[in-house]
Structures are given as C-alpha cells and as structure tokens.
Amino acid sequence: MFQSLPLLSLLIWAPILGGIFVLLVGSRQRESSKLFALVVSSLVFLLSTLLYFRFDTTSVLMQFVEYSVWIDTFNINYHLGVDGISVPLILLTTFTTVLVVIACWVVIETRLSQYLAAFLILEGLMIGVFVSLDAILFYFFWEAMLIPMFLIIGVWGGPGRIYATIKFFLYTFLGSVFMLVALLYLYSKMGSFYIFDLYRLPLSLAEQKWIFIAFLLAFAVKIPMWPVHTWLPDAHVEAPTGGSVILAAILLKMGGYGFIRFSLPITPDAGAAMAGFMIVLSLIAIVYIGFVALVQQDMKKLIAYSSVSHMGFVTLGFFIVFSIMEQAGSNADAVMGLAGAMMQMVSHGLISAALFLCVGVMYDRVHSRQIADYGGVANTMPVFASFMMLFAMANAGLPGTSGFVGEFLVILSSFRANAWIAVIAATVLILGAAYTLWMYKRVIFGDVANEKVAGLQDVSPRETSFLLLLAVAVLLLGLWPAPLFELMETTLNQLVEHISQSKVT
C-alpha cells in the first residue's frame, strides 16, 4: 500500500506543515503543542525507517524518485530521490529531531511553540537537502535552512547569542553564494540542473578547479574545515541544547554530503589535483584542533572543537580516495575510505548529539558550562555518569562503539595511500581520548566540588529516554555496522567507479 506513497515529499512537507501549524495555533497551548510536535517528529521518523526497509541495496539507481516540473523555463524540477549516501543521513535527521523535541520538554520556557516550529521546519528543510536531485532545489533547501537555525540560536541562545548567530549566518551564506555561482556556470554549459547531468558534463581542468574551489568554500564552511571553522565554537556555545544537537548532528554533515554529492563526482580531476591540499587541511583539523580542544574550559566549546577534529576524518576519508587511486590501489580500498568517512559522519552525529545533550542535562541543573564549576558529579548522578562515560568513550573512539568503526576504516585506507598520513591521523585516537576523558574526569569524578553539585538530581525518566536511545544507537552501530555498509556499498562502488574516470575533454 505504500508503493504509491510520495514518501520523500511526505518526509519534507509533513514536518514543515506541522511546524507551521504549531506556529499558528500553539502559542496558547504549551502542553498540546509539545505533544503534537513529538507525534509529528516520531511519525516522520517512522516514515523514514520505511526508506531503510524498502531500500534496494543492489540497485545503483536513485530510488523513491519523485519528479514534477517546477520552473519549466529553465528546466528546474522538483526532483527527489535517495541512494545509499542519503538514506543514513535522513535517518539520522529524523532520529535526532525526535530527541531534540524530547530534550526541550521542560527546558524551554519562552516562546515554546515557536521553538518547536523552528525545529520541525528545519527538519523538513534538512531532509529536502538530502533528497534533492536538482541542484537549484538543493540550494533552495540549503539556504532556507539558515533562517530557522539563525532564529534558534538568536532567540533561545546564551548571552553572546547575537554575535554567534550573525556570524553563523554570514559565514555560511558567504560560502554558499559561491556554490550558486558555480551551479549557474554549470547550467550555462549544460542547460540542466539535474545533478546526474552535471556528473556527465565534461569540463577542462581549469574549469574544474574553479568550480571545485567554489564548492569547497560552501562545504568547507559547513563541515567546518580548518581554517573556516571559527563560527562553530561560537554557535555551539551560544545555541540552546537542541540547536547544538542539530548543528553538530546534521548541519555539519551537510558539508560532507555536499562533497560526496557535488565536489567528488562533478569535478573529479580537480579533486585529484587538489587532494594533497585537502588532505593537509584535514590533518591540520584533526591534529591542531585536537590540541585546541584539549585546553578548553567550556564543555560545549570542547565538544565543538572535537567536532571539527572528527569532521577532519570525514574530509580525509573523501580525499584519500584520490591518493589511493593515484597509486593504483584497488577501487575497494577507495570505497573503504569513503565508507569510513560516511560511517564517521553518522557516528559523529550520534555521539556529538549525545554529548551535547549530556552537557544540556548538567546545564539545566547548574546553569554553567564551565568544567571548573563541576567535579564529582558521579556521586550525585550515577546513572547519568555511566551514560556519559559511554559517550565519552565513543568520542575517544573506543572499539565496540560507533566512533571506532569510522576512524578505523579511514586510518586503514590512509595506510594504502601513505603511511605517514595514517600515522598523523591516528594521533586523534590519543588526542581524542585525552581531551574527552580528561574533561570527563574533571567533571564527573573526584570529590563533590560545590553545593550545587551536591544538590544535583539524577536524570529523570525523560532524560533517560533520550540518552538510552542514543546509547543503543551508538553501541548498535559499533558492534554491528554491517547493515549500514550494506546500505551504502553499491552506491559508493558506483561513485568510485565514476570518479576514477577523467572528465577532462
């Protein structure tokens, strides 16, 4: 019966319409608007699991395709579809949104209905980004997403929220407009915005390099890569917990998604030519930002820097592919790098969301994010401490958690390219453990630091619910990642096959 259902459209528009509904009627009914938002986001999550169950992992084609003409004058179409790359990210999006709704339950006091509406609308737009097969449709969602996020940070954020949110907006806007110019240039060559038409378009190396740089500006800001990462710590620190979760879990992944959907296949030769540069940037992010994370006093800032460092693995995994292919390595090794990067994206989405929620749990009680204000939390919040232990270990890349799988695969494939790259990248295992566990030690262990900590209540059932969900997800992916790889395998094979062919005419 679901065969004819426009599943992807439903995933986009159900949360958006739900959000608008909450916005219009919810201001007087706090309780029911919360329930409504929870029901909508849960339904959307359940719908999105259909994507997983009905996905044909053997097909290289786009699935669940929807097509209708949008602006016929310029051949712009409402063209949706998913493949093995987008499905995991969509699941991550719908899953995290449910968590965010649960997490705001008693925490957000001002303009609750607007808060919920912003997140629901944001969810629809984010799914739109992952399912668009038309470059302009993609850009439409990509930019529109900035508006709810701008408001979320600005309205419900901390004391420095205005600076942080304007910086966030302008940084990402600045990056994206170059992508728009690149897309329009491609259109002037090809006469189409269909992404797979652009894949086929032959381009000279110089053209490819310019287009690659334009894409890079958009995606590098979003991921974010060193040295354009500086908006992220600000935005994370000032955003409300839900905002930080969505930022870390999904918004950063859009940069990665952009690389794998646009940069790699549209400009493979430029990618190959600039792989060295990209790898160096990734390594700087991994190592240097790792050290920066080590000295942070603020927990959210620490996790933000840890995000930058971990996302370095994603870009490393993407661009090590070219290095492997150049050295005549097998395509299988290249696929491994990409799979590792994808795995890292999903896993980081879960772990960083979990860590931000943990900080949120403590912040709601103590109203401080400073590490120095805590100490001995384990004495008063033992259940919470054990959850956070798991997530801290996952962030450090402990085998058995999802954090291990992605990093391991990327490091392994780096060995095929260059042992030194692998060695440098592997320092993350030490650095990550150092900053995460050191923070954990200072916050959770030791003697009870002050009265506030002494008076802490352990996690409520509501908080347990979202932490438990995340813990299960992190362990599941860590112990049994095979389903995720099966999902991506065919698509990634196809992608590597595509980018190994030169497009230069």
Binding site: I71, I136, I166, L184
Partner: protein, 482 residues
C-alpha cells in the same frame, strides 16, 4: 493607420488623463474632510486603466503616432505593474495621511499625474516622449515630497530632489540633443539604425551616450548619482517614500530599456562598460553605507541604491536574441523589487501612528513579543530583500546572476553575490532587533485593519512567489519574445 484608430491604443493614457482632471474637480467641490470620494475615484481610475491595459494587450509591437509611441507586451506588463503598485500605495497613503490629519486631495491628483507620466515613459519610442513622460512624473513627485507643508525635512527633501532632478533632466536632455544633432532623428529605432551603420564620428555618439546614461543613473539612484536618494527617502512622508520606492522604479527601468536597448543597442559594448561601473559602485556603496544607518527609511534607501546596482547588472546583457542574452532577469528583478519594497516601506506605515513615525531601527525592538504575526511578515520582507530562499528576492537575484553568467561575466557575478552577503548583514539586524532584543516599551501596531490585511497579503505573496516563481519567470521571458 489612421489617427482615430491609433487613439484607441492610447486609451489607457487618455482615460487616466480624463480621470485625473475629474478627480481634481471633484476634490475642489468635495466638502468631506476625509476625502473619501477623491480617494475612491482615484483608486477606481487606476483600476479602470489597468483593465484597459490588459484589454489592449498587444501580441506584437505596434508603433503609433509616427513611431513616437509603442505598444508591446513589455509595456503592457510594466503598465500593469505600475498601476497595481500605485493602487497598493494609495491604500497605504490614505490610511497614513488620514491618521495624521494631513489628508489632501492633491496627493491623489498628483499621484495620478505621476502614474500618467510613468505610463508615457513605459510606452515611449522616441527620445522626446521619454522626456515628456519623465518630466510629468518627476514634477508630480517633487510636489508630492513637499506635501506636508509643516515639515522642514520634507521641504528640504523636496528642494534637494527638485534641484538635483532638474539637473539630471537637463543632462539627459543635453545628451538627447547631441544625439539628435548628429543623427537628425529623435525616433529610437531610427537612432539605432543610424548607430548601427558604420560611422566615423563615433566619439560624438559616445559623448551623447554618456549624458543619457547619467540621466538614467540618476533616476534609478545609482552611485555616483545617488546622493539625493537617502535624503529624499528619509525626509518625505513615509507614504510618499513608499510611492517613490515602487512605481517610479519600474518607469526608470523602462526608460533605461527604451533608451539603451531600443535606441542604442549598437553601442552595446560602450554602455555595458559604463553600466558595469555604475552597478558595482552602487552595490558597494549602497550595501556598505546601509550598515551604519540608524534610521530605517535611510537604511532602506541605501538598500534601494544597492538594489538599483543589481537591477543595472540585469540590464547588462541587453537584448541579443541570437545569443540568448536578454534583460529578462532585470525585468523580473524590478517587479520583484517593487513587491518587496512596498512591503518593507508599508511596514513602516503599519508600525507608525500619529506622533510616532517608527522610522528608527530601535522602534522595532522586541516586536516579535508584542506582535508575532507582523514580526514574521517583516522577517519575510527582510530575508527576501537579502535574497535568501524560499522567498521571491532569491529568485530575483538568481535570475540576474544567471543572465550575467550566461554572457560570460563570471567575475561580475562573484562580486555581486559578495555584495549581497554584505547586504544580508543589515537586513539581519532588523530581524535581530525584532526577535532577539527585548524592548523597554513594547511597540504597538497602530494601523487599521485594511493596512494589516494588505501587509499580510504582501508578505504571503512574497512567500508564495518564492515557492512558485515559474509563472512570473515565464511572463518575463515571454514578453521579450522568447
């Protein structure tokens, strides 16, 4: 074609002229202090003219009166835009002046004459008709700016506008006279034919061209001929600012198209260079100076300068059908800009009341708490003006950039988008004031139901056109014959 049948084609203009005189007479004899009759008659005449324009929609170009006057699909679309915009402006204005006890029938009479001037400009096919229309429009506008006799700033603004406007008209006329002196014609297509044939006195043409471009740049408010614009926008009563920022932009755009493309397409390469400079300067100065403004009318005035820069960018491709380069992007842009700018200036009227003009940015602090719906509408206007999807303003920028890239000026496209990022900052600041700041005294929306409904519709239109711009894009390409 005989004169009698030609008269049929200018029926809208003739009707408007008759109506304007009728309104003037009625107003003299009307005793009613609320001027309801004058107002309704003025609105009715605009509506009738609009219907006539649509009724007379030409499928192809019809040149009339020895080629002084042209009726083509482009002119019909622009005339409908002018009339529709003026109807909306009159609605706001009536509310605005009545609330402040400044209602004068002359406002509507002058407004109608200004619209008549615009219609003539839109349909002008000779340099003289362009000038006639331009003067009819400008003189009405000068007087409208000075409507509020009590206000010193308004008188100052009107004076500035008049002196500088007269100077610009003089320069334009000088350019026209040079071109006439060299070619012996004032008819635009004949001028184009002259310029197209190989000539040895090209430098004289360029000399004339420069003055014409200056005149156009002044009317569009492009840097470095923009200095009147912020002062006039700020000093005028908000209702007049609203008028200045809407329909006359369409007329100025039409003037640019008629003179540069219909009349001087052979000098394409030459005026293209001038327009590039004007456009870049406008975008740079407009966007950067707007950041430091504390008066919202002034801020929007600088934003209008920046938008004029973008509009000029859209005129660059000219009209070379064989190479597929058209100014359709600029046409789309001007229509979209009129819709957005009416919303933004209308919002100032909405937020103000007698004794409180709401023209400082700080007056909008905390609006989202006091009035979430209207704050949301203003948010739509601001993001749309900044060019962020999913709003109409995005497609306007998108379309212009697409055309600019299509003619190969990629570096220009890059600069344009960079400036629009700079511009985003001051629009964001308005959103910041409304949503992120708390006010000591909550702002009150003082407007009546009509204005509230109108502004809501305007905001929703921007959203709806952002999701479905296809039809408007189709019209814009269709009227250029593609």
């Amino acid at each position: 074609m005989s004169i009698t049948s030609e008269i049929l084609f200018v029926l809208p203009e003739l009707a408007l002229l008759a109506f304007a005189c009728l309104v003037l007479v009625c107003d003299v004899f009307s005793k009613s202090p609320n001027k309801l009759l004058t107002y309704l008659l003025a609105q009715a005449s605009l509506a009738v003219v609009m219907v006539l324009v649509i009724w007379l929609y030409p499928d192809e170009r019809v040149a009339l009166f020895n080629q002084h006057f042209i009726l083509d699909p482009l002119s019909a679309v622009l005339k409908v835009t002018v009339c529709a915009a003026s109807i909306v402006v009159f609605l706001y204005s009536y509310h605005y002046f009545r609330q402040r006890d400044l209602l004068q029938g002359e406002y509507f009479v002058l407004g109608l004459f200004a619209v008549l001037g615009m219609l003539v400009m839109v349909s002008a096919y000779s340099m003289l008709t362009v000038y006639l229309g331009l003067e009819l429009m400008s003189l009405s506008l000068y007087a409208m700016v000075a409507m509020n006799k009590e206000s010193g700033t308004a008188s100052e603004a009107a004076m500035k506008y008049f002196v500088l406007g007269a100077l610009a008209s003089g320069l334009l006329l000088y350019g026209i006279s040079i071109l006439y002196g060299v070619t012996g014609t004032i008819i635009l297509p004949e001028l184009a034919a002259h310029l197209g044939s190989p000539v040895d006195n090209r430098i004289v043409f360029l000399f004339g061209l420069v003055f014409v471009v200056v005149g156009i740049a002044f009317k569009l408010g492009a840097v470095p001929f923009h200095s009147w614009l912020p002062d006039v926008y700020e000093g005028s009563p908000t209702a007049v600012t609203l008028f200045l920022a809407s329909a006359p932009k369409v007329a100025a755009f039409a003037m640019a198209i008629r003179l540069l493309i219909d009349g001087m397409q052979p000098l394409h390469v030459d005026w293209q260079g001038m327009l590039i400079v004007l456009s870049l300067l406008s975008m740079a100065v407009g966007n950067i100076v707007a950041i430091s403004q504390s008066n919202i009318k002034r801020m929007l005035a600088y934003s209008a300068i920046a938008h004029a820069g973008f509009l000029i960018l859209g005129i660059l491709p000219g009209l070379q059908a064989d190479q597929g380069s058209t100014y359709a992007g600029a046409l789309f842009y001007v229509i979209a800009y009129v819709i957005m700018s009416m919303g933004a200036f209308g919002f100032i009227i909405l937020a103000g009341r007698k004794g409180h003009e709401a023209d400082n940015l700080d007056d909008y602090q905390g609006l989202a708490d006091a009035s979430p719906w209207f704050a949301l509408i203003m948010l739509l206007f601001m993001f749309s003006l900044a060019g962020v999807p999913p709003f109409l303003g995005f497609w306007a920028k998108w379309y212009v950039i697409k055309e600019v890239i299509a003619i190969g000026h990629i570096w220009l496209a890059v600069l344009a988008v960079l400036f629009s990022v700079v511009g985003a900052y001051y629009y964001l600041r308005v959103v910041k004031l409304m949503y992120f700041d708390r006010a000591e005294t909550a702002p009150v929306i003082g407007a009546d139901t009509q204005v509230r409904v109108l502004i809501s519709l305007n905001g929703l239109a921007i959203l709806a056109l952002g999701f479905a711009p296809g039809e408007l894009i189709r019209i814009c390409t269709a009227v250029l014959g593609f």
